[in-house]
Structure formats: C-alpha cells, structure tokens
Assembly symmetry: C2
Homo-oligomer: 298 residues x 2
C-alpha cells in the first residue's frame, strides 16, 4: 500500500461524495478548480454554491509534498527535518435551510521520507437546532463505522471530537461533535491496512449520513426567526474556524491555497452584540446542548 | 501622573467619543454594559446598533489588573512575573452605508508592579471603496496629530500600521492603514507626560475624523452591488480580527469579556468561494490599493 494508492482512493472518495451530494441537491453541481502547491503536488477543489439544499459546500482533495518547514515541524511536533507527503479530503457544507445541519468531514494521510506515517480525520455535525433524535442517529452511524474496526474507537474519538470542536471563548462546543482522530500509526503492514480500512469506513459514511439529513430535513418549514438564528450559529462556526481550528491556522500560516481552506466559511454570517435567545426557546435549548461530554446514545 | 489619572482620562475620552458619534448618528444612542474582570477591575462597554449611520459600533473602556499569567508574559515578552494594570479605550465602527469607511481606534496604557510601563495604540481606516482624496485627508489628520509631538512619529507609526493591519493569507492590507504604536516608554516623568499627551492627541483625533466621514459620506447613493461588496470586505475584516489580530487573540485566550472583544465583528458578513471583482471595476481598483507602503500624502 503506497501513498499513491491512498491518494488515488481519496480522489475516488471525492468523486463519489460529490456525485451523491449533487444528486441529493438536485439543482446545482460542483465547480472544480485545479491548483498546484508551491513545493509540489496540488489539489482539486470542488465547490457547490446556491443549490436547492446546499447554499455553499466544498469537497476538496489535495496531495502535496515538500520539505518540512519550521511551522510544519512545530505544528506536527516533529523532531527530524525530512520530506513530507500529505493527502486528504476535506468537506464543509452550509445548507440553505436552518433545519439542515452544517457538516464537516476530513480524512488525511501524512508520510515522511524517514518512513513515519499516520492517518487522521473526523466527522462532526453542527445542527442550527439540535434535535436529540437526529443527534442519536448521527452518533449511531459513526459508532457503527468505528465498531467494525475497533470498539475502543468510538468512545475515544467521540471524546477527542468534544475536545477539538470546542470554542473556548464561548464555552460552547461547535455543534454536537462526532469523531476526531489523529496520529494513527502502525508498525506492520497489516496494521497499516487496518487503519486505512477504518479511514475508508469514515470517509464512506459521509455521503449516507449527510444525504439522509439533506433529504429528510430540507423540506421542513422555517421562518425568518430560524434564518436569523442560522446566521448567528454560522458566526460561531466562523469564530471556531478562524480563531481556533488548528487545520485552518496551519493552512493559512504555511501558504496553503486560501480559497480552498476558507471554503469552510459560511456564505453569510451575523454578529449581534450580546445576542441572547429568549428563555426556554428552541434556540436556548440548542445552546444548552452545546456542551462537552453528552452521551447522545444513552 | 498615576494610573488612576490615565484611566480617568480614558473614561472621559470614551464619554466624549460616544457623545460625538451618537450626535452624528442622530438616531440611536449607546447601550452600556458594566462588567468585572475575574482578577480585578472591569470595564464599561458601549455599543450602538441599528443607527442611521452606524449599523454596529462599540466604544469600550476597561481598566483591569491581576497577576501576569504565562499567556500574558509570552504575549508581552515579559521576563519577570509581577502584577499588571492595563487600561484603554477600543473602538470599531461598522457603518450602514458601504460609502462610509469602517474605523478602528485603540489607546492603551500598561503598568507593572515593578515600575515598568508603556503606552500603545493606533487608528486605522477600512473604506469599502478606497477614495484617494479621503485617504489623503485621513492620513493628513493623523500626521498633524503626530507632528505636534514628534515629526518622527507619523512615518514610523504609519509603517508599523501597514505591517500590523495586514492579512497575510490574502496578501492584502485590512484597509488604508493609519498609525500603530506600542511599547512607548520613558525614563523621566516629563517624558512620560509627553507620551501621554501624544496618546491624548491620538484619542482626541478620533471623533473629528470619523464624524467627518459619517456626515460627508452617509448621504452618498449606493445600490445592492455596493452592499454586496461591503459584505465581502466585512468578511475580510472578520478574517483579520479572528485569525491575525494579536489583541483579539490575546483577549480571547486570557479570558477577557468575549462580547466586548468581539464587538469588532461585523453585523453581517459574506464569504463567496473565490470571489473576484470585475476587471477595472471600482471594487478591483480598491483591491489594488490594499497594499503596504503606499504614501497617501504624496
């Protein structure tokens, strides 16, 4: 299993996800931009805008290489300077309807010329309105994907997601979490193949999960007050991505392709000073559920 | 001249600026929130929303104290742990009209229990559309305020602003710059008084400068395409503040009052994937002027 195999798989995954999302959207398709990385390799960014269900969604593939910079070594806690190769698929979807959740998915593989390698990734869901039944279904899908490989994965990676997708200055989680994992490495080829199989399961869980919400929730009624709240929640999403997300920060600081990195930002977002939802409203109930450590499967 | 004198002056400055801006707005006044800092002191945040000219503007005063944390020592390049006192006024104004520029001003004073102290601050302007005559007038006001104290100030602090108010991942300045200064310290009382007098001149230049633009530009006609561009420029403003501004970062990481810090974020902002203004449009001309090192006074 070479880095080329893994990269080729990620390209196929991008194709399959774009096709599934565009079909569920039914109105717009993805626009593709090819780009080159300054130190080698490049990417294939795909964005769908102004669809029936998706207002702005990106499904990006990249496979880049270069020499580890100081910034990269610091970010990755590396001690040896070597050539690196990094490939992955990154997704963020901002739907039109406040009743459809925002979703994020990433799967990635990193390899050094000294032979070290690791997988990372995750999926997390940010409903504008948290519906416990939807949250349970979402976490159940992730648990099922994890359990096929190792029953220790879901509890461990669910906790990791709670810690990662957290907005400290708001003392809020970004959404209802999901799974997050990084630095998954192995010492034998069979172990490496198992890790890759797990990452494939995560990647392949995306389309069934998100098209489920696209189809189920996009026809639900909503009014201006729901749209307003969606803009506020998108503001929080932008706060997390710009101020706290290590992946975004790393990309912007190391000269990644800005438009591909910032496709994650919402099409429109709102910041009102000291916005407080009405006591006991659906909005206040959602805020009450944006906490670490909730067991959605209980 | 004690820290109490300086802090009292900053409170009066806040009062005077709020009065001038509310008068020029003519429709809304400032809403005040008083808050306490976890380790001592507190602040007086004032926000005006949905005015005739100002869509969202904050004029915040604070005077806080505590023991220097590790984060503070790192941010300030301090080597000795001591008690600190920090006071200042921070302003950001987002106007309704895309023809009125966004403005930011900050004046601050920092003092350590070991006797070290310094002043910092700055003013910078972010027109949605750069008009060279307005830019020249703005920089001339700042130069005049600086020259009254030291003719070396304007060139030095103008360059510092170009470097500080810069969005590396866009290779754009935030706007047309202005002045930025920090760590202005002194060894004698007369020198300290001169620095304070300079900071007062900067603070007192704000109201005449901004009410000039409020009154002159708020009646200019604009259409939906100008509003759209305003939302895009506001997105860039949010990118700078959340991803790069050291003051914002420091405040969020050290447990400052989130709503006061993030009053700087725009009321509404837009991110379209790979947005490109039409060749030779006013929007493209503005982008061409968002560069470091432009001598607006030439």
């Amino acid at each position: 299993m070479t880095k080329e195999n893994i990269s080729a798989y990620f390209q196929q995954l991008q194709d399959a996800i774009c096709q599934a999302v565009a079909t569920a959207d039914g109105q717009q398709s993805f626009h593709e931009d090819l780009w080159q990385h300054h130190s080698g390799g490049g990417g294939r960014s795909r964005v769908l805008q102004n669809g029936r269900v998706i207002e702005k969604g990106g499904v990006n593939f990249s496979a880049v290489q270069g020499q580890t910079s100081d910034a990269l070594m610091k970010q990755m806690n590396l001690t040896e300077r070597a050539d690196y190769f990094a490939t992955g698929v990154s997704i963020v979807m901002h739907p039109q309807s406040p009743m459809v959740p925002i979703i994020h998915m990433n799967v990635r593989y990193f390899e050094m010329s000294n032979g070290k390698f690791w997988f990372g990734g995750g999926i997390d869901l940010t409903p504008h309105y948290v519906v416990e039944e939807d949250a349970r279904w979402f976490h159940q899908q992730l648990k099922t994907a994890c359990d096929r490989h190792d029953t220790a994965y879901y509890p461990k990676f669910k906790t990791w997601a709670d810690d990662y997708f957290y907005i400290p200055h708001r003392q809020e989680t970004r959404g209802i979490g999901g799974i997050f994992f990084d630095y998954l490495s192995a010492t034998t080829l069979p172990e490496k193949e198992q890790l890759f199989a797990f990452v494939q399961s995560v990647g392949e869980s995306f389309a069934p999960i998100y098209t489920h919400f696209m189809l189920k929730n996009s026809e639900l009624p909503f009014d201006d007050s729901h749209k307003d709240w969606q803009l506020v929640r998108r503001g929080r999403y932008a706060e997390f991505n710009l101020a706290w997300d290590r992946g975004t920060k790393f990309g912007l600081e190391t000269g990644g392709r800005t438009e591909s990195i910032l496709m994650s930002l919402p099409p429109l977002a709102r910041w009102e000073y000291n916005y407080q939802p009405t006591h006991d409203s659906l909005e206040a109930q959602t805020l009450g559920l944006l906490k670490k450590g909730i067991d959605w499967l209980r």
